[in-house]
Symmetry: C2
Subunit: 232 residues, 2 copies
């Protein structure tokens, strides 16, 4: 059996599809505003609004919806009819109500790894939304702890590890975001396994991957995870 | 020393003012819509929207803001100008950015009780907003655990008590809501101390107080708490 005792997983875009729903919202949103501005202007203005509101709102669909409404009012100088703003609210509700679509191979991998390791889930965003997705995923019973956090900086990981008496040197974190899942855990002495998703939100992009480190791995698919874990 | 080992506190309207901010939003909101409808119609329609969205959105200021926008569009048949919707977004931001105003006597009481008991904070709402308020309150260092939950039903309390290995029979819960703070804890065999706030949101009202029980107490002010705790 491998020395790794605890495996922590990110959820959105690591276990289930998420960014594709935001992408779909962006597409419909740009379409809605296309008579006022080109898609590039809409996208960049929305991103700036989101970043300005991040400290106050935090992550998640409700924050995104509020920033989308604010941006639409601004970009149209208040000319957008309110039934179109109502459509933006509905886009958000559709995202919240959307079924959870697991990535290929997830259930088998999680089930397999849970027999020899403690699994924990560490995800950021709206509390209610993340709890609902965890429940819908059918995976809760395989995780020893479920942690919804408002941010994923190294101090957030540190607090979780301390609370559950986990030594980061015996921990592997698996996720699609170098910035939120991998770098903060490497900083604490843990191991990071990066499995990129097909899409990355601009805010989660980092300039470069970590330096080659014995604690950093990259995989193409979660299906390769049990084999790698067995070698650690 | 009393047998009570752990004292759990609700936060909003138990340690700091909160409902007064919502009340202020309601006043400004009714004013904004006063040329379309009387305040009673506005209030009852907003409440129905909030209840319909509760399962999807959960509690908190962002949910409230989204429901306020949705209701304003509906009540004006889409005639509300978008700069007025922008004002509703700003009301919500003002609430999120508002300073935390502790109730009278809170700091002294919490500091005193923390010397002989484990204190935990159990609050529901937006994760980011509640964490920010806890930080702003200056009280974090007195609490052993801070728990932000998406709901406060008996199963939510049960999960927290299990996680921290707390026997509810040795626990006292202090809060302003009979429905969310007191009844679920009495159900689990704990002790409930109800300290009503000057305002109660309609959703938190219950038809009647618990039957006289040896585990239920009511106080007028948190300043009376140490004396009561000493007798338990």
């Amino acid at each position: 059996m491998s020395k790794t005792t605890t495996i922590a997983f990110d959820a959105d875009d690591t276990l289930w599809h998420n960014e594709n729903l935001f992408e779909e919202h962006h597409r419909k949103y740009c379409q809605l505003l296309s008579e006022y501005h080109d898609a590039e202007t809409v996208e960049s203005t929305l991103f700036r609004t989101e970043m300005r509101n991040l400290e106050l709102y935090g992550y998640g669909v409700k924050s995104f919806t509020l920033s989308s409404i604010e941006t639409a009012i601004k970009l149209t100088d208040g000319a957008i009819p309110s039934d179109e703003l109502r459509r933006i609210i509905d886009f958000g509700k559709d995202m919240l109500a959307h079924p959870v679509e697991l990535l290929e191979g997830v259930t088998e991998v999680i089930e397999t790894l849970s027999t020899a390791h403690d699994l924990i889930l560490i995800t950021k965003g709206d509390l209610r939304d993340q709890e609902r997705k965890i429940a819908k995923s059918g995976l809760s019973q395989f995780f020893r702890h479920l942690e919804v956090v408002s941010d994923k900086k190294s101090e957030d990981y540190s607090r979780i590890f301390r609370q559950h008496q986990i030594d980061p040197r015996n921990l592997v974190m698996v996720g699609n975001s170098l910035k939120s899942d991998i770098l903060p855990v490497l900083e604490l002495g843990g191991t990071g396994i990066h499995i990129p998703y097909q899409l990355t939100w601009e805010h989660e992009r980092v300039a470069s991957a970590p330096n080659q480190s014995t604690n950093f791995y990259e995989l193409e698919s979660i299906k390769q995870l049990p084999e790698l874990i067995a070698t650690l």
